[in-house]
Structure formats: structure tokens, C-alpha cells
Symmetry: C2
Amino acid sequence: MAARSQYQELARQLSAVGAVKRGIARILPAECPGGSAAVLTLLARNGEMRISRLADLLAVDMSVTSRHVTHAVESGWIERFPDPADKRSRILRLTPAGEELLDELTRRTTEMFAHNLIDWSDEEVGQLNTLLSRLRDSFACRGTGGCTPGRHSGDCRTGHAEDSHTRTPV
Amino acid sequence: MAARSQYQELARQLSAVGAVKRGIARILPAECPGGSAAVLTLLARNGEMRISRLADLLAVDMSVTSRHVTHAVESGWIERFPDPADKRSRILRLTPAGEELLDELTRRTTEMFAHNLIDWSDEEVGQLNTLLSRLRDSFACRGTGGCTPGRHSGDCRTGHAEDSHTRTPV
DNA sequence: TATTGTTATACTCTATAACTATA
DNA sequence: TATAGTTATAGAGTATAACAATA
């Protein structure tokens, strides 16, 4: 376990990450809010899936996910079709328009990162990714305030834990 | 410069940090929203200061800072008194009640971190802090979408850059 | 009964713009 | 003219709770 003073520092650093996130959000196309961008990214990376799984990956409540998805559907970026295995569910899939938009998003964010992280080595970025991934795992599904919100589709140890270390983390 | 695929990964990791932040926010006392907690923390760590400086440290617009401060003042946690050097400004300072609340906040967050980061070493937490601090610097005040929002009190290179490496980062 | 998903409501955080007071 | 700060307004993101349909 780490020293207590480190914790206060970490809390502040996490809080300040918001500025970086807003910087990224600002370069998105006007018609594409951050929630949609996250949905498209996860669908491209993990393939078609149901809302509940997407909510797990996003680490937000299913109700929030549902709204993001609705917006993306109305914009023509993803489609929602019946799940043959469960009539309560629908399967989400990127449309060609969605893939096109995602290409543009990738282009913009890559350019921004390349510009701002010009003096970061591959190893350093990888190290940060690894630590952030581990941080998520550490805060997921423990006792005090750890568990991510809302309803989970299965037991608490599924969700991102399943993705974080076995392949490129979500 | 790092590989492009690392950037997409970093974007996702940063996005997912939100879940951790919300986990921290959930353990705050009901009467203390996150904005107030951040204000109190920074005033305790950096001493009394003006709104504009606080806005730089928080990396949000001064208008946002002003509202957080107003709430904290109305709650009796900080006081705002005239700046003898500039009649447009007011100096912010923690009250005894504010210090008391901050103690409670520290107690709660420390307990949460200690619980969730039980298997993190001191070095690992320090490493994450260092990388996040550097990330902030890398995204502050560059060309494309880098600069933090709003009005700056001085030239672009002041603000958190001044704190990030010369002492414990903000 | 339990689960999947949707919708209504409310709250927090944020930015932009217009404004006042002072430098 | 420029800067420090406040306030009004609007928008994004989120959670909770109530609900419908299906398992």
C-alpha cells in the first residue's frame, strides 16, 4: 500500500484529467458529442454487442448508455436490430456512416495526440495506459464506493476486467 | 512520439477515468459537491489566493470557479476578503469550518484509496502521479485544442506548469 | 420473479457571453 | 483599453426511479 500523501495527490491528478478530456472533446465534430464518440469507438473495437455490455465497457449506467445509443441511431451511425437469442435485447452495430465518422474522429484525435505528446516515447504512453487500466480494475467492484454504477449484467467481475489484461484494454 | 494505436488506447483510458472520479464523488458528504471539495483541497495545499489563480489550478473557466467559490462561501467553508493590492480582486481563505470539512474529506478519500489500492506500491502510485502530471503539462497551452479554457491571468505558460514540477503537483 | 432496456426527472459540471468595477 | 470577477443561459453527462416487455 502506498503512502497517504500519494492518495491526495492522485485525487487531484484525476480531477485535473478533466481538462485533457475536455480538450479532446473540443476537437470533435459539432454534431458528434463525446458520448457518441465513445459508443462508436467501443463498437468498432469490440464488435457488435448489446446495450448492457456497452454500459459495462463505458462504465456508466445502462440508462445513460441507452440515451447515447439513441442519439447515435438517430444520427445514422449505428443500427439496432433484434437479438434472436433474447427478445428483450437488441444488438448494436456500426453503419457505414458510423465507420466513416469514426475514421474522421480517429484522424482528429490522432493528430491532436501526436501534436501534444510529441516528446512522449512509446514506452511512456504504454506505461500510462497500463497504470490507468490497472487503476480502473482496482476501483471496480470492491466494497466501499468501488463498484461502478447501475445494474450489472452478470457477476461483478465480468465487464472491463475481462478486457483489461487479456488484450488491448478498452 | 508514440505509436498511433497507443493514442486510441489512451483516449479510452482517459474516458474511463470518469468512473473512478465518480466513485470518489460518491463518498463525499451530501452537502459537499465535488467542486467545493476541489476548491477546499487547493486552498489548503496552496494557501490563500485569488479566483483567477484558483481557476488556473482547477483548469476550468473563471466563471465556473466563481460559482464553486460562491457555494463554498455560502456554506461557510471559505471566506472572501478584499485584496489590498487590487480592488477588483478578492482573496480566498479557508475558515475553521472549511478546515474541519477538509479533514473529513481527507479521511474518507484516504480510506477509500487505501481500500482500493491495497496492492499498489508507493512507487506505482508515484509513477501514475508523475505521468498524469506530465500529461497535463503536455496538453496545456499548445496549438490545436491544447490550451485550457477561458481567460488566463497571465501568459499561457504560467498556471499549473508553475506547480507541476517544482513541488508536489497540484 | 428477475432481467433488459427505455423514459422522465433532477443534479453536477462546464463554457460562452454580457455585464460591472477597477486598473 | 484591458483585466478581475459575477451572473445568466445553455448544453453535456450522469444517476435514480418508475415502467414495459420478456425470460
